[in-house]
Symmetry: C2
Amino acid sequence: MENVTIRMLAERLQLSTATISKALNNSHEISEETRQRVLALAAELNYVPNPYASSLRKKASNTIAVVIPEVADSFFAEAINGIEAVAQEKGYHVLIYLSHENSQKEQTILKDFQSGRVDGVLISVTTETTATGLEQLVRDKPVVFFDRVCEEVKAAKITTDDATAAYRATTHLIAGGCRRIGLLSASRQLSISNKRAEGFQQALLDHQLPLLPNAITYCYNESAANYQLLKTAFLENDYDGIIATTEKLSTAVYEVCEALQWRIPEDLQVIGFSNLSTARFLNPSLTTITQPAFEMGKAAATLLFRALKSNNFPLQQQQEVIPSSLIARNSTLAKDK
Amino acid sequence: MENVTIRMLAERLQLSTATISKALNNSHEISEETRQRVLALAAELNYVPNPYASSLRKKASNTIAVVIPEVADSFFAEAINGIEAVAQEKGYHVLIYLSHENSQKEQTILKDFQSGRVDGVLISVTTETTATGLEQLVRDKPVVFFDRVCEEVKAAKITTDDATAAYRATTHLIAGGCRRIGLLSASRQLSISNKRAEGFQQALLDHQLPLLPNAITYCYNESAANYQLLKTAFLENDYDGIIATTEKLSTAVYEVCEALQWRIPEDLQVIGFSNLSTARFLNPSLTTITQPAFEMGKAAATLLFRALKSNNFPLQQQQEVIPSSLIARNSTLAKDK
């Protein structure tokens, strides 16, 4: 079916397109009777304003973008729910773009935003992302980084207490009798990965434990490649405790332990950064660092809408850190119990 | 920073905007020397074409929409990956819209599409959706339904073998000694839910087993409400086997069994429709009907792009059914073993 246009309404009612447009926008220049005739026909023909044309005039799309590396991770799924809760209230559309952990794909997406397709952007960057391109974006549009932020860029940021969470996880393993602890990291680039590594190293230092030469394993985005990498790392380092800093890596640890016939927690105690609702039903149930995903999404969206509402809001200076929590389960049952 | 426009390029180069536009579009009316000057300045100033303006001219957005009820389900996460694999190849943007199982929100999203924001739509409907509004959408745009289709609407559809999968799940439980089998359904509306119920009932009939008065429990979208509903249903019906037809309901069964101190599989055998990567690490590992999520997303996107490429492609007549598979694990270990 053909789209109903202002021109079609004008022809049917024998009015000018300007009159139709003013009537649809409740202009005081138009008599109430005319306005009612226009609205009645628009409703009858199911007229919908063209957002491209109206965006060109109003320069606002009533749309915000969320750029995330993937959806197959419960952190992002929950964060999106937090974002949508706020956007729905404000009557905004949310468009979700996936960068698939590919910084080039991310650049293509960001480039597209310069053109005015969206009013603001919430972004959690890829494991490869550097500041290039992001600075331009922050100059062009209201932007809030959440979780995976880009340290070098001056912008609004919502994060969790990554260093503290990793410190707490490490201390929990040490208290449970672990002495050869490893950390599985998703990236050498990401500031949140580096903070988790710092918290880990600081905890070892504070407990006078040595940092093994291969204590930190930098993993791939591909599950198959990680499987082999972790198998080798586990055998070479003979870990007795491991911290998986992403949900996918937590699952990978269970796979590798199964393959090596290592028992959790007897042979290896495991903590995962994960928001999986099934964590407590795993065999054994997984001790997690649970991130405030929903709250982080909500906080990020709230900041963005404040900036969209007022040009004076100093968005780039906003920083918020929302704490994670450690939930102890059977995957870290202490050795002597 | 201000967006760079054709007008700005024209002023800087002392050329008309029409000349700039033609040069950017490689028109043969423009001399090679002028074209090079324009392209050089456009690159220097980081000029990006405005998609609204260019959409108005070309009537194409190079964007497809994916409308799904939620992302916190591995079926949809994997389906999106299948869709993106095809879209990326074609150089299209994928915008993901969430209906949050709310048919009114879905309607608002669909209404927005009439305006030309996207070239085509892939949709998996909410548990409440009826044909209203969808017929209009299918007339306006290339649309492919996947997984959760709307039977009444004549349109392209990619589904899995829902009735057969439920039949197979029921037969598997019967073979394992179950006699009081229940099915947890997500919707009275959805055709895929109804097909699963049909397959379930047919299998009972074929094995001369009675259909319990409350064999089918229609669940809510809210976890908290389901928890109470399932607890009551389990106690009243004393099931010895249960089929959870969504991933969330599978997790809910584990929760309720824990609360009731029912052992899986000794007291209750469980099969879940689920693509959870952790299914095999659950306690006990979960027998699943695993849907071909990635393939379904890929097939749906492939159909859509065929329609976008050629006006003659009879999109609405396309139907494809991709089979699911049953993966037996410990949650259905037979009674006598």
